[in-house]
């Protein structure tokens, strides 16, 4: 199989359409939704999330500190209005690419 026509940022935006999530959960969500074909790694997912936040496409909030995280809170991400628009636009582009045009 060839390279997937989607990058890390687009994959994260699509994963966030389902609802807010934290880093590890989003990585798992992408893996699950692509049936393991697209696996995001720590080296790409977290910088991409922070960059999307800087671009105003996501906003983050801290959850409660958890014992299994050594008392650290989870950082939950959520799409902003422009993030939702970008995510929908991305899916339209990808769908358009694979849809056979109707010739008249």
């Amino acid at each position: 199989m060839g390279e997937l026509p989607i990058n890390t940022k687009a994959a994260l935006l699509q994963a966030l359409i389902q609802g807010e999530g934290y880093g590890l959960q989003l990585i798992e969500r992408v893996k699950e939704r692509t049936k393991g074909k697209l696996v995001l790694h720590q080296g790409t997912a977290y910088p991409a999330l922070r960059e999307l936040e800087r671009d105003g496409l996501l906003k983050s909030r801290e959850g409660d500190p958890l014992p299994e995280r050594g008392g650290r809170p989870r950082v939950y991400y959520k799409l902003t209005a422009s993030g939702q628009r970008a995510a929908l636009e991305d899916s339209r582009i990808v769908m358009g690419l694979f849809t056979t045009p109707v010739t008249t």
């Binding site: 880093g23 790694h41 080296g43 922070r50 958890l66 995280r69 050594g70």
Partner: protein, 175 residues
């Protein structure tokens, strides 16, 4: 309206008799969950899972079919259900304070590295790595998985911190 859904309608949950009955049933469902799943979840998630499991089991009889209705049920039942699951949250607490030696080792290594990185990076990435490491406990080759995760986490923390630093210095976005 079936007998069951009438009996367990959120409006009726405040009735102590109904509450006792629903708690007994939810607890029974809860006890069916694998131990590692119970320990991994927070009390809120535990309650939600138990309520969901129960509603799925009784789907033919229940009126609760979506997350919004579960929200309503959890909200109403929260205090009483929480008391039932105190035992499990205690179990989660005990486990967090008494991890296996490999997990404890991993925690101390990552905590040591914490001092080097920015608050945001260490809170998020180290936290997620530790959460994953806790899930490895009890698995086959757990020690090898934990060691690999610690090494890759430290490696990516260094790389990501350099990227963040470079992008803030150069005013460019890290790719």
């Amino acid at each position: 309206v079936s007998r069951w859904s009438k009996k367990y309608h959120p409006k009726l949950i405040l009735d102590p008799r109904v509450m006792a009955e629903i708690n007994a049933e939810v607890e029974k469902e809860w006890n069916r969950l694998p131990k590692e799943e119970r320990v991994r979840l927070t009390v809120e998630e535990q309650t939600r899972s138990a309520v969901w499991l129960h509603s799925l089991d009784e789907q033919k009889l229940r009126s609760i079919r979506n997350e919004a209705e579960v929200d309503k049920l959890v909200e109403t039942a929260r205090t009483v259900i929480q008391a039932h699951f105190a035992r499990d949250s205690e179990l989660a607490g005990t486990r967090a304070t008494k991890p296996t030696s490999a997990v404890a080792h991993a925690e101390s290594i990552l905590t040591w590295f914490e001092a080097i990185f920015s608050k945001r990076v260490r809170g998020e990435e180290i936290g997620d790595a530790l959460e994953l490491i806790h899930r490895f406990e009890g698995r086959r080759l757990a020690r090898a998985l934990i060691c690999t995760k610690v090494v890759t986490t430290v490696f990516w923390l260094i790389i990501n911190s350099i990227r963040e630093c470079a992008s803030s210095l150069l005013g460019k976005k890290a790719e």
